[in-house]
């Protein structure tokens, strides 16, 4: 008789024994860090790693990879490292396959280890090879200690994957930062094409404790990496939400605009009823007085399909508005100047924001529409210190290398170099202008000062200003065919639907060249 316990006994006994062992091991893995820790999170209104996956994916669609993974560095940790703290696998969102990594903070702080490093690498490899979006639900204390300590720890655990942090944007990455997030959890967050941060979470290189030890003073976690910092200062947060559930919904929504991979066009949706209903009066959203500001997002929402505008980084670089939308059911990236902020004068934050948005759209076959109303780039010592020339040229280069259709619509002001950055001349496939457009090298007020030496209130200023302003009207530019169309504002949506159809990338089935695919995810 065989001594092998797996084959011992009758077939019936063996099956029962195998089922019991499987069930026991499965239950242990699914229990995560234990009922008590899970209960504490539930009481705090925070989802656990598995309920996050349930909230993210279509019901019953998750298939796990690595449920029985545990610590492989230290034998004493094997019994307390369910799924080794990072749950990975595949599932569907709106019927489309995705890959998921969900950090389980209840298991050793979801710290990064040898086994869970292999799990993440596998999820990335499958996503990249098979064309699946990859989603990171981030909450991790960073590198597992003491596994990483010493030269053996370093040699064994770090640097074994030369592509670990390479982004070639074969497929979209989306991340949510849902708690304390340090080390690789933060790296994957900022490497992603979309990064949503829940209020209360912290995204940083290392913990405030470690930062305090390093610099010898108390550091507030929110100052170190809270939502406000990333929404307003670093721009890492594409969106800020109040709850885990909202973060998961945001990822689902983000992915609805994108293809599953770079070799297909984005999905098309039915056009919602009521789309375009506000176009008749869209001109009323633009102030008559040229010195008055307005919120360009109202014009965007009127133009695009109803409720389809998905704004990115709304609190960062507010002079530039970026967001995904649909026009006629097809995904379109919107880039607009917002005069409500700084009069629409483009600053370095806005340049970075628009550049990164162009990279996203170019990588995933999304045409862009630029809505122009800018007096130019913000100038002065502060702008120069923030490396404005470099930022302006990054933006310009991204626009010129952008290989999907781009259509520029001048609503009001378009001056100087900003005219080029916002698609003027041959920098877009079509330039249209509202009759309210004014295009010139600089604002006529400044031009009167430079050319005539006159300021407002001086004798002769008004005449010189009128002359300088008249030359800025769009009709001369249309006469030279430097704008292809002057359109009545209420026809803008119809014009864009039609012109995006004309410029559809038929020769490549809607797929661009992806010349920006290796550009950074932050600047």
């Amino acid at each position: 008789m065989s001594a092998d316990r797996k084959t011992e006994g009758s077939p019936e006994t063996r099956r029962v024994r195998l089922e019991r062992e499987f069930a026991a091991r499965q239950a242990k893995a699914l229990a995560m860090g234990g009922a008590e820790r899970i209960a504490r999170r539930t009481a705090a209104g925070v989802l656990n790693a598995r309920s996050r996956i349930d909230g993210l994916l279509d019901p019953e669609s998750f298939i796990e990879s690595g449920l029985f993974g545990v610590s492989s560095s230290r034998a004493e940790d094997r019994d307390r490292s369910a799924a080794d703290g990072k749950i990975t696998g595949f599932g569907r969102i709106e019927g489309r396959e995705v890959a998921v990594v969900s950090n389980d903070f209840t298991v050793m702080g979801a710290s990064s280890s040898s086994t869970n490093g292999r799990k993440i690498a596998h999820a990335k490899r499958v996503a990249t090879q098979r064309g699946l979006p990859l989603i990171f639900l981030g909450e991790s204390s960073g590198a597992r200690m003491p596994d990483h300590m010493g030269s053996r720890g370093m040699g064994t655990l770090l640097g074994n994957d030369p592509t670990q942090y390479v982004r070639m944007r074969e497929t979209p990455w989306a991340s949510a930062t849902l708690g304390l997030s340090f080390g690789s959890s933060s790296w994957y967050a900022v490497l992603s094409d979309f990064c949503v941060v829940r209020k209360g979470a912290v995204l940083a290189v290392s913990s405030s404790l470690l930062a305090s030890l390093a610099i010898g003073e108390a550091v507030d976690p929110q100052d170190l990496g809270g939502w406000k910092l990333h929404a307003e200062v670093t721009g890492f947060a594409d969106m800020v939400v109040e709850t885990d559930e909202e973060a998961l919904a945001a990822i689902r929504n983000f992915l609805s605009y994108l293809p599953s991979h770079c070799n297909e066009a984005p999905p098309e949706l039915a056009v919602p009823e009521g789309s375009g209903a506000d176009m008749a009066n869209v001109i009323d959203l633009l102030p008559e007085k040229r010195t008055q500001v307005y919120d360009v997002r109202k014009i965007i929402r009127a133009i695009v399909d109803k409720d389809s505008f998905f704004e990115l980084k709304p609190r960062f670089g507010k002079v530039g508005v970026t967001g995904l939308s649909r026009i006629g059911g097809r995904t379109v990236g919107i880039i607009a100047n917002n005069p409500l902020s700084k009069g629409g004068a483009l600053d370095t934050d806005a340049c970075e924001k628009i550049t990164s948005f162009l990279v996203l759209c170019d990588s995933f076959n999304i045409p862009v529409v630029l809505l122009v109303d800018t007096p130019g780039f913000a100038i002065g010592t502060d702008a120069e210190r923030k490396r404005a020339p470099g930022k302006i040229m990054n933006f310009m280069q991204a626009l010129q290398m952008f290989s999907m259709p781009k259509i520029s619509v001048v609503l009001r002001k378009s001056y100087g170099q900003a005219y080029l950055n916002m698609g003027g001349g041959r920098n877009s496939d079509e330039v249209a202008a509202w009759p309210t457009a004014e295009v010139s090298f600089m604002d006529p007020t400044f031009a009167v000062k430079v050319v005539h030496g006159l300021s407002p209130g001086d004798a002769g200023f008004d005449e010189a200003f009128a002359s300088m302003s008249k030359d800025s009207e769009v009709w001369d530019m249309a006469g030279a065919y430097a704008v292809q169309s002057v359109i009545e504002p209420h026809t803008t949506r119809d014009y864009l639907i039609r012109m995006l159809e004309v410029h559809r990338s038929r020769m490549t089935n809607g797929v661009g060249q992806h010349l920006l695919r290796a550009w950074p995810t932050s600047y």
Partner: protein, 73 residues
């Protein structure tokens, strides 16, 4: 009651203060208007609250990021 600051996002000068101390404002309401680059650029309330104090007067020059009013929310 928490205090919050309203800041000018541009360098320019205060053109017009359109609210008063003690006035209740909603998030997004214009508190004052800064003139910069020949544009009228509003300073808006980030949160709802009551205007507690103005730190500038009309025609005062302001710099980017300068606190121009304090609100109680």
């Amino acid at each position: 009651m928490a205090e919050c600051e309203a800041k000018s996002e541009v360098t320019g000068s205060v053109w017009k203060i359109v609210t008063e101390v003690g006035q209740q404002v909603e998030a997004g309401d214009t508190i004052m208007i800064i003139e910069s680059m020949k544009m009228e650029i509003p300073v808006v309330a980030e949160e709802s609250g009551t205007i507690k104090a103005f730190l500038v007067k009309e025609e005062t020059p302001v710099t980017e990021g300068q606190v121009v009013a304090v609100l109680e929310s």
